[in-house]
Structures are given as C-alpha cells and as structure tokens.
Symmetry: C2
Subunit: 355 residues, 2 copies
Amino acid sequence: MSRRLPTLEDVAREAGVSRATVSRVINGIRNVDPVIQETVRQAIERTGYTPNSAARSLVTRRAETVALVVAGTGDETADTQGAQGAQDTQDSFAARVFADPFFGRVVSGVVGALRPRSMHPVLMFADSEAACEQIVAYLRQGSADGALVVSTHAEDKLPERLAAAGLPAVLFARPALAAPLSYVDLAHQDGARLAAEHLLARGCRRVATVSGPLDVPAGQERLAGFRDAMARHGHPYVPVAEGGFTQQSGAEAMVRLLAEHPVLDGVFAANDLMAQGACQVLRESGRRVPDDVAVVGFDDSSAARACRPPLTTVRQPVEEMAATMVRLLREHIEGERTGPTSVIFEPELVVRESA
Amino acid sequence: MSRRLPTLEDVAREAGVSRATVSRVINGIRNVDPVIQETVRQAIERTGYTPNSAARSLVTRRAETVALVVAGTGDETADTQGAQGAQDTQDSFAARVFADPFFGRVVSGVVGALRPRSMHPVLMFADSEAACEQIVAYLRQGSADGALVVSTHAEDKLPERLAAAGLPAVLFARPALAAPLSYVDLAHQDGARLAAEHLLARGCRRVATVSGPLDVPAGQERLAGFRDAMARHGHPYVPVAEGGFTQQSGAEAMVRLLAEHPVLDGVFAANDLMAQGACQVLRESGRRVPDDVAVVGFDDSSAARACRPPLTTVRQPVEEMAATMVRLLREHIEGERTGPTSVIFEPELVVRESA
DNA sequence: GTGAAAGCGCTAACAT
DNA sequence: ATGTTAGCGCTTTCAC
C-alpha cells in the first residue's frame, strides 16, 4: 500500500516530454502545442496524477487557503456540561457561536465565494490569548494566505496582532479596538432608523429597545441610530435594556423592560435571537405579538423565519458582505490593494408578522 | 516590504550551528546539548523565525490538516434569497446546515480535539457531484491528511468515493450506502426507547411520533426503537408523521398528526428542531406542553434549552463522538489502525419541562 | 514552443 | 551530540 504517488516526472516520462511542459499544461499556460497538450492530458489521465500541493506551495509561496476566524472570549457564560476538562471553554465557545444562525450565513457566504477559486476556509476560534498566538503563527507559517475575522467581543486583540504582523486580513465589522485593516460593515444606524420608522408608522407610541452589548460598535450604533430616529419623530426618551445578542439575554432584557414599563406597544431588538427571546417573554406575559406589542429584529437570520410569529427585521446582506471580504482579502494577498479599505452595506427592512 | 522571511539557514548561521541542529531543536528531538538548545532558541527569537509549513509538508508528507466535510444535497428546499446566481444552492446548503445547532456541537467537538495537536479543520460542503470531486481531489493533493464526514442525506456517494480512493476518513454515523470506513454512531434505538419509556411512565397513553427522514439510518432506527419499545409496553400502534429534521418540517408533521389524531397526549420527535416546531404547533392549537401533550426531543442541542418549554430530550454526546472521530482519523493517518472500526455511544435522557 | 537546471525550505539518513 | 548531504515535487528563469 506504500505505492508511491505519481509525480510530474512520471507524467512527463509517460508523455515523452519534460516536466516543464507538463507543468505548463496543468497550469494552463499558453505557448504549448495543442497536440502536446492532448498527449499530456492523456498521460495525466493514465497515471492518475494529482499535483502535490505542498511542493507547489513551496515555490509559489501560496497556500491557496484562508483562515476563517471567529474571535471572542471563552468565558462569557458557563452553560457547559461538556466532556474533556480544559476543552470545555473551547467547546462552549464554538457551540455558542454557531447557535446564532448569523454565523451560518457568514460561513455560507465565505464558502460560496471561495469555492470558484477551489479554496476552502480553515476554521479557527480565537477565544484565548493562546489561541490568538496560534492563529498568528499559523498564518506566519504560510499555512494560510490570510484571515477573515469575525469578532464577537470588544477587547479582541487579534486584529491589531494581525496588522502588526503584516498579515493579510479582512474583518467583518469595524473593530472596537481600531486596527489598520480592511473591513466590511453595515450602516447600522440606517438599519435602526428603518426599524424605528416602521414601528412608528404602524402606530406604536410606547417603544422600548433591547440593545446589543454596548461595548461593541454594532451594539452602540444600532442603539444610537434607533434613539436618534425616535427623537427626530418626537420620542426623545426610549427605555433600553442591554442584551448580549443571545436569545436568553434577549428574554432577560425583555423581563427587565416589562418590569419597568408594563405598557409597551413596540420593541426593537438589536438582533433576531434577542427578538425571539423577547417574543417568548411577551407571549408568556400574556401579550400578543404583534397585536399588543410589535417586535422588530435585526439581521434576518433563519431565526427570524423560525420565530413565531415570523419576525419583521432589518436585513443584513451577510452573504454579500462575506463575499466582499473574500474579494478584499484576495486583493490584499495578491498585492493589488495596499491600504486598509472599508465597504459599508445598506440594510433593508423585511416585513413579516411581528410588526 | 519584500524582505525575505528568515529560514532555517538564517537561524543556523545566527546560532553558529547547522540547519540539522536547529531543526532538531524545533522538532523537540533529544540528543541536543542543552547549551546549544538555548543558543538556538535565542537565535530563533532574534531572527523571528517561523518554520515554513509547505517545506515541512513536502518532506514529512503530512499537511497537519484535516477536512471537515458536511455532505448533503443542495436541492432540498428552495428558501434562498441569496446573492450570486450559481452560488445560491451552495449558500443555502451551508446556511441550512448550521441552522441546526447540532452541527455547532460537531464543530465544537472537532475543533476541541484538534487543537491540542495544533491542527484546524478545513470546512467543506459536499453538496453536489462537483463538490465531491473537489473534496477527493483536495485530499489526493495532500492538502489535508484525511476527512471527517457528516452526511445529511441518504444517497451520499462521498464515503464510497473516499474509500475507493484509499483516503483516510471517519464518518459521523453509519452511512446509508455502506462503505468500508470507520464511523462513530449512537445507539439510536436505545435513545428512542428511553423516550418511549419516559412518556409512558409519566402517564401518556395516546402517543405519536414525528420521525426523521426514513431513508437515513438515524431516522429509521429512532422510529424502529420507539415503535418497539411502545409495542413492548402494549402500544402496538403509533401514529407517525415523517419530518426532515428541520423545525419547519416538524411543525408540518405535527399539523398532520393533529389532523388525524386530535387527542394525543404525548409526542416523540426524532430531533430537537422538529420537537420545537411541534411545540409551536401544539401551543398554537391551544394545547399546553406538557400539561396537555408531553413532548420529547432528541439530540440535546441548544435548541432544546432555547425551546419553550425547555425540552426533555435524548442526549447525544456529540462532542465526545466528534473527539473520537478525530482520534480514529489520526490513527488511520498514522497507520496505527488499518481496518474500518465503529464506535457506538449510548444516549441518555435529559429531563426538562416539556415531558 | 520546449527542455535543462536551479532552487523553494525543510527533514532525515548517514557520517563523524 | 552535531554536521553533511540528498532529496521531497514543483515552478520558473533561461537557453535553445
């Protein structure tokens, strides 16, 4: 079973040409006689040849791989019941991340954009200092040509590490800690404004909001945008309860809101998961959605459709944004683009039943 | 900025030793004078050296990377609103996959088990013939040393392709189309039995089930196990509605069940997502869970805890199973294990509020 | 249009 | 215990 795999040399011998010619045919370089091309193709077929990626990478200095990193911290909540001791933190982080269908869309967009180039993402979690180092090392080794980073918390040091190491990287969303890297982002304030205007237009007069974590830009901006829009329409005071972008935190925030403001008729939650939690609490408190209280979410993740009632929400074009990240990263890797760039997308309101 | 990265040669020169010695220090091979070791470490530090993974892979014939493949088909449902034409199918597949928190747990377990070896998974979706070929090619190129495969549909040809190509691979769950590969699986029938006995023990007498897709082993076995257990306890007839392991399909199945059997007092859904859908329908039909109808799910994914009421469910130790996949794959790659092996895990009942 | 030959950076067998 | 050396399989000048 230790039969050596066929190499370029073997194909060349089989085809009666030189290695260089076979290489040219494989890499689609012109200036190769069509007849010889065919001969070579047949030789490749006959020998069952596949190029060795390590050898290729060694000379091209390209891994043809990118890292898809989810950065955050392992110690936010402790709802683990996992297996192997020290592994728990890690485990729960990854599981928690994918509990938000938003990440499924990111993965989806990234994989879709990478596939045409026959590339695939290496999935990494930067949930500790050590993990950060490991990721930087991974890139420095040339195992991946660059990184796509989605951060879930404010203190994330990965972006600056990446920038300091001069490694190609593109972020999803502007980092809380500024770093000279390219990123794609959403016009969060515009999205929040859409939500505010929709609630107002449908007649809501006592509106509150479940905000995202206020130490990350997305959380801040969605809140600021919502407040501004409400104020412009004559509602300078908006009750706020801060959540952590999880369903559970949304439910808890809703409980707090209800305790202080029992007569609400509209709620804007800064993401769909929290909107879902809020809907549950509202229903359990005997309020009907949207009849008694209208609810608007944010993201338009699959949770919005799974929710009962289906959520009216602010759509973030995540797949497009992810595809743009891939494009920017490629340009950085190829050296076609040098300075940090940012691309901001516009959200749009998707009206369903919850508001 | 085109400053050449430091190589072993540079470090060797800096430390005044040979490349071989530096290599030994880096790879932790004994028989190196402690004094020299220190000298070398300093030289590494000073030069900022990082080993080049391509060069290393070329000689070790190891990529130190494994593929994590989700196999399925892109054309099950068409709830896409995605971006780039041909990319849609792909997009929706990846997003759909991660809509089930079960996969988050798989990823979590895999990443956790890989991390101690400084390895990371390359994420791939085998949702078409072409994608399958790409994956096999990827492995044959040596870009990854082996594959961990989770399949979501019955006709999946990837396992047999992998086996035919002699590539190291380990599956999550026994494949519908038999293939000579190792796999980890759950004693589904035992799990279904636990569910049946729990429902019976709490007094349910009119019990139905929302089964999984009946063309995959997990779907078949959970149904068979449930029916058998019910029959053994004097309930030879159990109404069944087939679902597709999605929340939506669970809701639809529940509607069908209710139409034909309005007086149910217990339901076993073959996974948590379907149980969640079933709960929604039950509640919307005016039935209380668990007071009027008790519901038991399967998996113990995060959906079980997010559900209202929280689901009583059959826990699948997914993270452990994933860690075992990694171990088996490593053994196959190292050549320590030759024939296909299977490891079957035992499920356990987790009692919450839904039953 | 094609071939010869020089490495890419590393590990490992062998020599010392 | 350390150094020497021969590749690993490929791309890419540079001749022809």
